[in-house]
Amino acid sequence: MSENVTAARPSAQEPVKFKKQNQAKEIWRRFRKNRGSMVGLFMLILILLAIIFANVIVKYSAATTQNLSIKLAGPSSEHWFGTDSYGRDLFARVLYGGRTSISIAVLATISSCIVGSTLGAIAGYFGGKVDNLIMRALDIFMSVPDILFTMAVVFALGANFVNLLIALTLAYFTNYVRLVRSQILSLSDLEYIEAAKAGGASSARIILSHIFPNAMGVIIVNTTLNVAKIILYESTLSFLGLGMPPPQPEWGQILAEAREYMRSAPHMLLFPALAIILTACAVNLIGDGMRDAMDPHLKS
């Protein structure tokens, strides 16, 4: 744990990086020791592998070709998860559906993170009137239920990947604004930031190269936890009829279709639900593990 004491020279990039590298190694070490987090990581890697290499395992056409004479068949050697209400292979649908669901969740998280963090950074760094304006506007914005925005976007623009992304970003960016802002407020006071300002570095540079790396820890933890939330929110949207248009598979969509067959063919509900639960669990475990790993008070 040799921290480089010469990190106090902000204008030179190397010392800061060196410190970051060491920190990163330390965080990884603590993470590895946490059994729950490793289980989560393992689960997630498995799920991601299955999804990325889906086309090696089973063809996309299996997910979209209907065969109504075998609709709602239970699991068998031909159809590992059985078939859905149109006779499509459920295993293929869950696998390819994972691509859609997880990629929307990840992208929506990233984009809401970027939008929210930028706003939060501006508010926190410039302070004063700008801060006040942004935070009050945010309060008003948060008063409007996010389901309203989501529905409005989907109604206005139609339901496709990009629009859902926009809708989800609108719903979730507010999480990051407060978070980043409070990080910045507590970090801005640090001496080396003052020194950087005195040294003539531009505001953008200061925010990006000094403040962000330190706030990154908290942001990352929250981001991972948000991915799980967004996956669940997507399924609620599908329940309300706002999911992706057919025949593209998506976990929430499969769940919505499976609802009416919950008693006659529970397998159709079970497998995508399990997929969602396992993914959300895995992501949450990782998020928690990262938070514990980054906690300075944790005795190693």
């Binding site: 309203l148 529905m151 008693r263």
Partner: protein, 313 residues
């Protein structure tokens, strides 16, 4: 302290102004119109247009905005619904109370169950008392809301036949919808309380207290708990706000006439007066709840209280 409270309450006014504007703006861009929804598919377009004109739906945004505000301030009225042609207050307020009741029950359940369990898992970390609730919390937090609701419906209504499956006639009807809303929050509370407690226990001043010879139970209860509870209380307030709209799923599933389902249903009909009134009521409630939370927060933590009373000098 009181000046702070008053400032917060006064901020409701720009909030409401902003909320009405945002909703009108957002709905301006969504397609559809109330006239068609009311008259049905077989009505001629001219009749639909005429009805829209009568309802005031075709007015430009700012006209609607001013008109709505005038109605609110001068007549103390939320206006008339485009869809049912009945006073909005008659529709929105009863349904709001229903959702509020469910949310309060949900919050009480999730707090009374989640927080103590969370504390338990923190204090007895790495034992069975930790693993079992934690794993359960993880699983329950990851179940989609309507799957949970349907499982409850089938288990308690169908198989066990002990709870009614819809409506709100008897007190038993409140159980399942509140549970459906409360369970994910309970799971969250368990995990959040646990991490908050753990953080608090590991603070340096706890070691100091131990070093000074204080009993372990005193250490936990007097010192760690107080600090751990602060973020937990804030979260309760935030959860409450999210709960009200999160009730949509439970309301739809159990056919409860709540405000979440009302707003969501009326978006397709572009019933602006109802959507605006519903959102205003929700945001007022949310503000009041956050205010209560902040007051509690201030009185528990002297540092925060000092910040608020600084003005008195």
């Amino acid at each position: 302290m009181y000046r702070y409270i008053i400032k917060r309450i006064l901020f409701l006014i720009p909030t409401i102004l902003g909320v009405i504007f945002i909703i009108l703006l957002v709905l301006n861009f969504t397609p559809g119109n109330p006239g068609r929804s009311i008259l049905g598919v077989s009505a001629p377009q001219e009749a639909v247009d005429q009805l829209n004109q009568e309802l005031g739906y075709n007015d430009p945004l700012m006209v609607k905005y001013v008109h709505y505000l005038k109605n609110l301030v001068v007549n103390h009225s939320f206006g008339t619904s485009y869809f049912t042609r009945q006073p909005v207050a008659n529709e929105v307020l009863p349904r709001f109370w229903v959702t509020l009741k469910l949310s309060i029950i949900g919050i009480i359940i999730s707090t009374l169950v989640g927080v103590p369990l969370g504390m338990l898992t923190a204090v007895k970390q790495y034992t069975a008392w930790d693993y079992i609730p934690s794993v359960l919390a993880f699983l329950l937090a990851a179940i989609p809301a309507f799957v949970l609701g349907m499982v409850l419906l089938f288990v308690f209504s169908l198989k066990l036949n002990i709870l009614p499956s819809y409506g709100l006639n008897t007190w038993q009807c409140y159980i399942m919808p509140s549970l459906c809303m409360a369970i994910p929050i309970t799971a969250f509370n368990i995990r959040f309380t646990k991490s908050s407690m753990l953080e608090s226990i590991r603070e340096d001043y706890i070691d100091t207290a131990r070093a000074k010879g204080a009993k372990e139970s005193t250490v936990i209860w007097k010192h760690a708990l107080k600090n751990a509870l602060l973020p937990v209380i804030t979260n309760i307030g935030l959860n409450m706000g999210g709960l009200i709209m999160g009730a949509v799923v439970a309301e739809r599933l159990f056919s409860v006439a709540g405000i979440g389902a009302l707003i969501v249903d009326r978006i397709a009909y572009k019933d602006e007066p109802v959507i605006i009134a519903g959102t205003i009521v929700i945001s007022i409630t949310f503000t009041i709840i956050m205010l209560i939370v902040d007051i509690i927060y201030a009185f528990i933590d002297p540092r925060i209280r000092a910040k608020y009373t600084r003005i008195k000098g």
